[in-house]
Symmetry: C2
Subunit: 205 residues, 2 copies
Amino acid sequence: MISIIPNRAPVMQEVLYCPQCAHRLHQAIPDGDHAERSVCSQCDYIHYLNPKLVAGCIVEYQEKILLCRRAIEPRHGFWTVPAGYMENGETTAQCAAREAYEEAEARVDDLVLFASYSLPHISQVYLLYRGTLRDGAHAAGSESLETRLLHAEDIPWQDLAFFVVADALQRYLQDRQRGHFAHYDAVVEHDAQHQARLVSYSRVG
Amino acid sequence: MISIIPNRAPVMQEVLYCPQCAHRLHQAIPDGDHAERSVCSQCDYIHYLNPKLVAGCIVEYQEKILLCRRAIEPRHGFWTVPAGYMENGETTAQCAAREAYEEAEARVDDLVLFASYSLPHISQVYLLYRGTLRDGAHAAGSESLETRLLHAEDIPWQDLAFFVVADALQRYLQDRQRGHFAHYDAVVEHDAQHQARLVSYSRVG
């Protein structure tokens, strides 16, 4: 199993035993499959590794953007938009709204999907929405040190937690200035120095 | 663990034992978390359940659409566009291209993200691209009974495998007719009779 830490290299965790019957797993290509998996010879359990979905939102109120300063690792003390791992049973927009409430006690409306990012080096996909803050109210949730509504010129670009957040905020502000929001689909990879960089993007709208 | 079968109700599988140390798991809310998880009191392993990402593509060649007739369950014998579960280490577009090759031996170009669908009742997110078939060549891969390039009027609407595929193909053909492709973000749920229906969508472009 790979434990995903945002914007860090994946940490390999051992998946040694079958979660269904506790038998020792072994490596094999299941029938009809194309890749090696950890499988159980006792109960036929197959352990699949799949990318994780992160959903979040760029939230605006009176032309200001809602940012949270992280109270957790990775990137403790750095600024981000509300975002987090999607849970079973919710939609991507519900996840974005839930994260806004958990991290910034913010009620968000009018969510429209703004950008998708594949981060293959950490097996994550980000789906970032844009939306509005319902009543201007916000406060630090348990994962935030503080929350702020900031004008574009006050965004702490050097202290943003993640490359994806910086890239999405730049595109958002550019689109806002031209008066028309597009949808972006992008790929971010890490170079040999573990620096994130945009390797491709396409735009619709 | 939930074993996801597309467009069917999730099948609950028991996750009873720790995959790291084979100790019996129990239910608890981890520190700083908001939901109950299966956790290990011996090695602190936490079992997270996350939605699965499916990526696929609507592929066109000389105004015809590439469809595959499924050789596997669910929906054996019904028609679909190439699509499948995303693997670790790939981008969403790479997944769509890989599935086109695996299911239809098709080489695809010019992939642009066309539609996102949340299916919360089965904890899946579909990301469907649109693109072109490189050289007109296609053939049934191991998961397909046959593959065909079909004009819009020949698409077997009554024999499509999944609601999401039918919805995306309709939007694609409408957009092609108006000469301009948008990006769609939609939510599909099941009603009490397990019939899929579109409960919301937004459009950019």
